[in-house]
Amino acid sequence: MRVRTLHLTAFRNHADTALQPGTGITLLVGDNGQGKTNVLEAISFLSLSKSFYAANDAQAVMLGQDVLEIGAGIAHDAGREFDVRVTVRATSGDKAIRVNGSALEKLSALVGMFPAVILSPEQGGIIAGAPAERRKFLDVVLSQTSRSYLADVMEYRRVLRQRNKLLLDARLAGTPPARELPAWTDELVGLGSRLIHMRERFVDGVHTEFAETYRALAGTRGDAAVRYITADGIVHGMETAEIAGCLREAIARREAEELRRGATLAGPHRDDLAFEIDGRAAERYASQGEQKTLLIALKLSEYRFVSVRCGETPILLLDDVFAELDRHRAARVMHMLRSTAGQCIITATDEALIGEAPRWNNEHRRIIVDSGTCREASS
């Protein structure tokens, strides 16, 4: 997909901003607090139907205004054009999304239609933060590429709450668990094993590329690896049914502890991703720049995975990625971005940070963001 035109009205500090990103790289450059990240956030509404970081839609409405609008002309790879319009009302929080004039009944219908891969400072947690952040990463990527995964995740969460309630009830009453517990366990194992299978396949699909991209970005130093950590007994390459068998056993082994804690203790909601450089855990041993490099390598692998699975080139949004990188790594990132097929929007406070600027023209654009306005820099 390609964003041809973008028009923001009362969106954060953008009162009325029109923008035409280039077909290749677009650099949004400007001082702190001028509105660069806000532009990327607006594009995330078009792709994910929501902000990539803020939980509250209404917050994005410009203070003192009632309704924000994000309007965009988007083209699919095959040329089909879409007019997408997102509106959010500050007072009620009501959100509406129209594609070519017709309102989407379910916002989730948008997921995967205009795929985006987003790398922002908040996502540093994927490498060094809590396991929940890595699971969220997996769920967002896989939901974008598979509607059945999205449906399974939502059902899994509900089944988990139901099953935990039974366990908690038993704990509080000091009785054995209700006799319908095995039915909830079965359903949890069925959905859970499908999620684990898809996540395994994702990691399997990207890990070689991830290692290669890391090596290319880091120069020659360091072998990076990513692994999926799940319930005991589940090994690489298993089919869903085998995974289900292992998960069932893992839950059975924890039966007593589950009752003591009143919670389900095995399943995709407890799994994790492990990142390593030269066999050492990245969250404990990698430097800031190395962690950032891992994250970029992961996102570029995700980018290719999403391209293939969606059959549509995603838009790549990189917020502030150059801040922690040395000159060489920054130049290598830019080099890699130039060779990706799709559109890429990056932000920086200074053009010098991006290491190696492309020639600015219609393909690669440099846009100055200044107090909620955007203008093309004259080259």
Binding site: K106, A109, S146, R147, S148, L150, A151, D152, E155, R158, V159, R161, Q162, R163, K165, L166, D169, A178, R179, E180, P182, A183, W184, D186, E187, G190, A244
Partner: protein, 198 residues
Amino acid sequence: MLYTSEALQQLVEEFARLPGIGRKTALRLSLFMLKRPREDVVKMARALVDVKDRITNCSVCCNITEADPCTICTSAKRERTTMCVVEEPSDVIALEKTNEFRGLYHVLGGALSPLDGIGPDDLKVRELLARFPGDITEVILALNPTVEGEATTIYLTRLLKPLGAKISRLARGIPVGGNLEFADEATLSRALEGRITL
């Protein structure tokens, strides 16, 4: 007092209890009733009381009925070897409309949901088991395609299997009485990918 009549206020409050009816609509309905001829209003009030007084639950299938056992349970035209288990009386009505199913029914009155405090004892499960052994050789589990309907399907399968009847279920994902055309993309792709069989 919000309204100039206590009777009106009472009626608005009663309407507002109905599912999907807010106070605004409740007021509109109340004023509408006020304009109707008296005999129409009496007819409606009687209809309301009648459903309450005349309808009970069939002691066999637990569906709503005026005669016990109900007309489906006593009908000579129904196949007595096949039974379809559903959550609500409305599901029976939907299935009857299709004219496809000629067997008997069992209405559970809901689905398992710990979060709502609903376990097997809150459903007509004991009544279901009481129908075995009998003429029934095939059970079709036609619960809603929700997380709760699915758990209930699994629970009943575990319970009924040892009784020897053949157990089947509606194709997963396609809503009862639903049409492929109207199933959303996620439902369809999951149906295609196939679910765990019982």
